[in-house]
Symmetry: C2
Subunit: 339 residues, 2 copies
């Protein structure tokens, strides 16, 4: 699209484009285009704004533009628990940055996983003629797709629904598990325990598969006695510490940073030092924990920001949307002092 | 307002109102009102939807309605760091719930505290003819008001700007500090240390004032030797532990939960038990820490959800907006096992 009034991505020219071109503040542009009484704007600034408006084909009322185009410059983001986890926020952040880059605005709805609220949120977004919807979960899982999502372009973010035909983008759990295990192997550990989660999930199976494949690549046989499923929090890690110690492992890969925090307490009570006696690696890179344990925790990051950004790119056709298996986003290592 | 097509708060009737009245799903309403080809909707459901549309005065295009009214059913929320703190998310949550209750939709922008991004975000919201803007900070502080905010109704949430004329809603830091100290006093402690923050802020002065007033009310003189400012994180708490122990205090009030987490490590290294040897209380109720330390941490909660909800109520005139001092929201105690 290259009609006047649209940027190269088909999104409308905005007040900030006008401000940039004319070298004045957005506030000044607003005064000029809305012809506010009482605003003291210099003749020169007023002229520059008017020239920029003309040059860019800017129309002050974005909603009027939307009506004439039939779709808005909104992208919807439906999230189950943005607000109650420090994690999902980064999905919003990545989606917002990428949406803005292409001239779109994000409409965010937090549903707490409540189906009625979700229905309301999707209806609201359809009424606002969104370009499409990102439907996201605060943890990687298979979902059932709300019926109304089929009425617009939808991308699943941090979740997937086999057979739904909806493109999805999720973290590469297997690569993440391999990365964590490789970090322990690189420090000479051969007997590596794994405190996995008891919760069935792609994270449970994927991280285990990565742990196994890293061991196999290093010529170390898989020993099921070294793997213990625990509750995926501090209590689970604390309770699982005895198993780690009894197994004779010199290192432990924890399903997440909260489990690792519990293991720290368990090892400390036994007078064992990290990493000298037992090396510990986590998963998630939950900053308030990982960066502040003593010693600071080496871990693998969940790529939440990138999941949000990739979802927007897929929705807008900047990146191709896979129609079969979910697209995988890599989980990078974050190395600190526990290995 | 009581014209057809508007709810009692002046917000438009939505697709979900139609769905509720006609007893069908939002998806079905969407099919009927948009007359989608290929949709198989029963005659009875179609009739009920059409009756509800007529009865409620529903018009399918919310953007057209907005144009005809001159203001939209949007409320803007500009936040500096929603995504990078687990806290600010609850402000969004509270604002969203309250906005929806009154038929408004929240437009959220995360600015990372970047002035140019903030300017863009406010411009976007003005272009969408928002009913008003909540301008929020991830921690309670005085801000300078971006010029463009004066072009619409604005409420400051978790921040304030003396002399700006903008209404504000903030946590009651002094009451929070008093509550924390009273909890320690109630358990018989008389010599109570306070690890305050080194960062000048309303939290620093307010919590200290609350600590002093609780002591005074209990007939205990203020001893400046018991107060030590530390970095407001785990490292600060860890470093401050020796001061607490050397002071002979039997209890410590920590500026926040992260400081308390550092104190736990410091006390444990000295072989001191919580709460038997030293009782500990935090501030913030940062769940991933407070609910999972060993023992779990008693603390005082920051009322983020309520700040967001109160901001929307003040913006919509449901609650009166103070035009002088910020409105204070209470910080409730959250009692666990460290006192």
């Amino acid at each position: 699209m290259s009609t006047a009034g649209s940027s190269k991505h088909g999104a409308p020219v905005t007040m900030r484009d006008v401000a940039r071109l004319s070298g004045v503040s957005v506030s000044t542009v607003s005064h000029v285009v809305n012809d506010k009484p009482g605003a003291r704007i210099g003749k020169d600034a007023r002229r520059r704004v008017q020239e920029a408006v003309e040059q860019l084909g800017y129309r002050p009322n974005v909603l009027a533009k939307t009506l004439s185009r039939g779709t808005s410059a909104f992208i919807g983001l439906v999230a189950d628990e943005i607000a109650t986890t420090p994690f999902a926020g980064q999905i919003i952040h990545g989606a917002q940055d990428e949406a803005w880059k292409h001239g779109f605005v994000l409409l965010v709805a937090n549903t707490d996983g409540n189906a009625a609220v979700e229905d309301d949120a999707i209806a609201m977004m359809l009424e606002h003629q969104v370009r499409g919807i990102l439907y996201s979960s605060w943890y990687h899982r298979e979902i059932s797709v709300p019926e109304a999502l089929h009425q617009t372009d939808t991308i699943l973010v941090d979740c997937f629904a086999h057979g739904s035909g909806l493109p999805a983008v999720v973290p590469d759990e297997e690569q993440g598990g391999r990365t964590a295990t490789e970090e322990l192997l690189a420090h000479g550990h051969r007997r590596i325990a794994f405190l996995n989660t008891t919760t069935p999930s792609p994270a449970q199976t994927g991280r285990l598969a990565g742990y196994r494949s890293a061991l196999e690549a290093a010529g170390i046989g898989f020993d099921p006695a070294l793997v213990l499923p625990v509750a995926p929090d501090q209590g689970g890690g604390y309770a699982g510490t005895s198993h780690v110690v009894d197994s004779g492992a010199s290192a432990v890969f924890c399903h997440n940073d909260r489990v690792a925090m519990g293991v720290y307490d368990g090892l400390r009570e036994r007078g064992l030092r990290i990493p000298d006696d037992v090396a510990v690696i986590g998963f998630d890179n939950q900053d308030v924990i990982a960066a502040h344990l003593r010693p600071t925790l080496s871990t693998v990051a969940l790529p939440h920001y990138e999941l949000g950004a990739a979802g927007v790119r897929m929705l807008l056709g900047v990146d191709p949307a896979p129609d079969d298996e979910p697209r995988l986003v890599a989980c990078p290592p974050v190395l600190r002092h526990s290995v």
